[in-house]
Amino acid sequence: MKEYAFYPGCSSQKGDSADNFLRSIDVVCKKLDIKLNEIPDWNCCGASIAYGEGGELPRLALGARNLALTEEKLPGQDMVSVCPACWLANRETVERLHQQPQLHTDVNLALAEAGLNYKGTAKPRHFIEVLVEDIGWESMKAPVVKSLEGIKIAGYVGCQTNRPFGMMGESFENPVYLDNMINMVGAEAVPYDQKVTCCGGALAFSEPDKAQKQIRDIVESAYDHGAEMIVTPCQLCQANVEVYQSEINKKQGTQFNMPVVYYTQLMSVAYGGSAKDAGLDGQVIKAAKLESIAMK
């Protein structure tokens, strides 16, 4: 069994916008013998929007609290996130504090207010890195019992899973690990031109029209290239691209109805999990094809 410190992030909590994501991750972890130990009393990473009010040091201190907790409570375990924004914030904190010792000193002065200290040993990683680097493609494929053959899927990597850190040294312009995962479960990854386009991110709330133009481009391109479904590793991408399709239909007369699921949901179904295990009941746009395979 492989054990990791787990940083779930706000949206993956029960009853929150990515509730279903976490359920499918549970299935994947069970099948691949991964144990995720939730970091006790973890806090919000601040996400990318924290800069506005939070500024630099308070934001970094917020991130360092989680790193410090990991070091203290789950020593020696890599700190795994499933949310790209969380992962990015954690990595950015590590990187910045490493590069600028003055900031590291100041952050520890702040953490001391709550009796904490960040040493610089915690190692933030993304769940996909755990799957590819620690488990490996062979072992990841081994539990597949149901092929998702016949489903054409647009792998939508989006931004923060991909930039600025990226994964496994893959290209920023055309990363292929998500396509490989799609193909691994027997589905077909269709090539299309919006794989790493921004969905508008947090600005989907504050600048809805501008963000919805991005979302429209993404969904439209997926349709144009024959996809029946979009798959993504990102909670915000999933929510934005799925949930706003109805808005876009209403405002612009399109007829979008493209399911948007997580890669772990594909894996759950392929591993033999039920539709509920895979969190497919959490779809705003039903992933009917996936559900029918899950029910077989």
């Binding site: 919000c44 201190a61 930039r163 947090a202």
Partner: protein
């Protein structure tokens, strides 16, 4: 327009940015290639590209820069950052400029992303974790009750769909997920703010 001021193209505002803005020391390293401008998903929507903002800083246009709403158009997609041939952390500089302008009170009033960033942070510090329902409602009602109801009604279809998918918990209004050591978090943040102010004073 002629900027016939003696401050034009002097280093004064550049030095201010270097002292006060996150990653501001990188501004002088821009070589004005424009790759950032061509890489931004919100390119059609801002008035000044990052490239232009950096040149304006070097040209000493303090007011125009800090009052610009361009930095607030950043979706944090990091496309500019990974593509910059000079390896400037453009995304962070834009965030830093936005924050600095916000702190000085020069950022555009009522700028929606500025508002949403403020609400998000406050929500996050208060509970230790984001309460999605409260954040969403706060966002709808930021412009007053009447506008809030209108916003909420406009989005009710989405809200109901999320509710149905069990991805929006109506009971979160009564508390929802939160950290145990909320006061510790607030103390950490307060101390960090204090230190940051002190360091910037030293740098300036």
């Amino acid at each position: 327009m002629t900027t016939n001021t003696t401050a034009a193209y002097q280093n004064s505002f550049l030095r201010e940015v270097e002292a006060h803005v996150e990653e501001g020391a990188w501004v002088k390293m821009c070589m004005q290639c424009g790759v950032c401008a061509g890489s931004c998903p919100f390119g059609p929507h801002w008035e000044h590209s990052p490239q232009k903002i950096f040149m304006m800083i070097r040209a000493g246009k303090r007011e125009e820069v800090l009052r610009s709403d361009s930095m607030w158009m950043c979706t944090s997609c990091y496309n500019c950052l990974v593509r910059c041939p000079r390896k400037l952390p453009i995304t962070h500089i834009m965030h830093g400029l936005a924050h600095y302008a916000h702190r000085l009170g020069l950022a555009p009033k009522g700028q929606p992303t500025r508002e949403s960033a403020r609400l998000f942070w406050n929500n996050c510090i208060k509970h230790g974790r984001i309460n999605e329902l409260k954040f969403t409602l706060a966002l709808y009602f930021k412009d007053g009750l009447a506008q809030g109801i209108k916003n909420a009604l406009a989005m009710q279809g989405i809200g109901l769909a999320m509710l149905k998918a069990k991805r929006l918990n109506p009971f979160a209004i009564f508390g929802g997920h939160q950290c145990k050591d909320k006061s510790g978090i607030q103390k950490i943040v307060a101390k960090a703010r204090e230190l940051e102010a002190k360091r910037q004073e030293q740098a300036a």
